[in-house]
């Protein structure tokens, strides 16, 4: 089951279980969910979608807003900034599509900038789950708070969930400290299987676990593997290690107009985010 399908199940259950929960949609996702009086579909109106969520939050509801990544984060970005952040209310934004799940749909349906954009606004917790189990757990936790939470669902997923939360060190070695975010873990583990490196996993990138990183990094070299815009968390790592000499290699989706279609695995390879590409980058580093 995909993260997206798991989210629809969890959202439908949450609507039944918690009368504060309301779902705000802009057509996308409507057919995957049961009819419910607290599902508000505003049609193809994404600015209104965020504004409605803010109004519901001001009235004490816990709004969950869901759409394709570019239509959830980019199109109504000022609404996210002002209607939620400036009004000082929370919501759970759940996107799907990630950076290039919609590889055949082209640039209009791809949003590798999403985490960088939300990171530029204060107060957001940002989850990048790598497995449907993680997505469901993070969604359930998000409903328990009134925070501003972003959950980034993707069709890419790791073979198994990682338990523990926070920064989880999966194996230790003498070489670089390789930090894989969300669904990049599978390719990262394959890339480093016979390399003497440390590998760690992170699904919650904001707030960034600076102290855990400081405690885990023993050498000078850090490789960051993110499934969205390359370098999105570079500043956090630099800040965490600011009093130590260190080198950082930040892998991710390049900041470029990428005019290709095809399958997601072709995009992954083109961006150097498949096992071969990650390994080549680490070896050059």
């Amino acid at each position: 089951m995909t993260m997206r399908a798991r989210f629809y199940e969890a959202a439908a259950q949450a609507l039944e279980r918690d009368e504060r929960v309301a779902l705000v949609l802009a057509d996308i996702g409507v057919s995957q969910l049961p009819r419910h009086p607290r599902i508000f579909n505003v049609g193809i109106r994404e600015q209104l979608m965020i504004g409605v969520a803010a109004g519901l939050a001001l009235e004490g509801y816990r709004p969950v807003v869901h759409s394709y990544t570019p239509f959830l984060v980019e199109r109504p970005y000022e609404q996210v900034k002002l209607d939620l952040g400036h009004q000082d209310v929370g919501a759970v934004l759940v996107s799907y599509g990630a950076s290039y799940d919609a590889s055949r749909e082209g640039r209009t349906h791809q949003a590798p900038e999403d985490v960088a954009l939300l990171s530029a606004l204060p107060g957001w917790t940002i989850h990048v789950p790598g497995h449907p189990d993680e997505a469901e757990h993070l969604f359930a936790r998000a409903l328990e708070t009134d925070d501003r939470v972003y959950i980034r669902l993707s069709d890419e997923q790791n073979h198994a969930r990682v338990d523990g939360g926070g920064l989880v060190v999966l194996r230790e070695g003498e070489g670089p400290f390789v930090l894989a975010v969300g669904p990049t873990l599978g390719e990262t583990l394959a890339a480093t299987a016979d390399l003497d490196v440390s590998v760690a996993y992170l699904a919650t990138v904001r707030p960034f676990p600076c102290e855990a990183l400081r405690a885990s990094v023993r050498g000078t070299d850090v490789v960051l593997v993110e499934p969205y815009l390359a370098g999105t968390s570079s500043a956090e790592i630099s800040a965490a290690l600011s009093d130590r000499p260190h080198r950082l290699l930040a892998l991710g989706v390049p900041n470029a107009e990428f005019r290709h279609y095809g399958d997601p695995h072709e995009h992954r390879a083109a961006h150097g985010l498949d096992a071969a590409g990650i390994r080549a980058s680490i070896e050059r580093f």
Partner: protein, 213 residues
């Protein structure tokens, strides 16, 4: 110590506006909303209602009315716009007692008001005719009309400040989207109160308050 005024009336508003000194640049805009705001707070809003000032430009009239009604401490008026003041040139709901939203960027209040009304709250939102240039408003107007969102009332203060105007009238556009829409004299308190207190089942309401510049 805060001083709450509870005895002030419409005639006292000019002196409160004078207290709001500083470099406020939106006087005419501010005054265009004065009568609508007074009627809302004096005659229309019930305790459980919500009022959202979407047109955050020129908020001195809003601050003066809140102060006259004892919602805002009078001494806050004296350092309007200063670094440590709660009262900026656009209101911030976190800082201003009685402000239900922070506004300034146009076209945000009406969509938020739709959310509050969907929660069942009787909600009034004030927008300007120039503000209606922003497309985000029309997402809200279309949706609220089609779902018959009757807890919602929009007051459009129309001082013909939209660059390309609204040929045929603003109210026609709301009516086309299923709203109960009327135009009244924005200085006529009785007409404003009657229009704002009118209620139509299963239709949101639009009151265009015409104010000459």
């Amino acid at each position: 110590m805060t001083t709450l005024a509870t005895e002030l009336g419409y005639a006292d508003l000019p002196q409160l506006l004078i207290r709001l000194t500083g470099d406020e640049k939106h006087d005419s805009s501010s005054l265009s909303t004065l009568d609508v705001l007074w009627v809302l707070y004096d005659r229309v809003l019930a305790e459980d209602d919500r009022f959202l000032l979407s047109k955050g430009h020129g908020p001195t009239a809003f601050y003066a009315v809140l102060a006259a009604k004892g919602i805002l401490p009078l001494e806050l008026l004296d350092d309007f716009g200063s670094f440590g003041s709660a009262l900026g040139h656009h209101p911030d709901r976190v800082l201003v007692p009685g402000a239900e939203i922070g506004s300034g960027s146009l076209g945000h209040g009406l969509p938020i008001a739709v959310g509050r009304a969907l929660a069942g709250r009787r909600t009034f939102v004030l927008v300007g005719d120039g503000e209606l240039d922003e497309g985000s408003n029309w997402e809200a107007v279309q949706y609220a009309g089609r779902v018959g969102l009757d807890p919602l009332t929009v007051v459009v203060v129309d001082n013909d400040s939209s660059t390309y105007h609204w040929p045929g009238g603003i109210e026609q556009r709301f009516a086309l989207e299923g709203w109960h829409a009327v135009r009244v004299d924005g200085r006529d308190h009785d007409a404003l109160a009657a229009a704002l207190l009118d209620r139509v089942e299963r239709r949101p309401r639009c009151v265009v308050a015409e104010v000459r510049r």
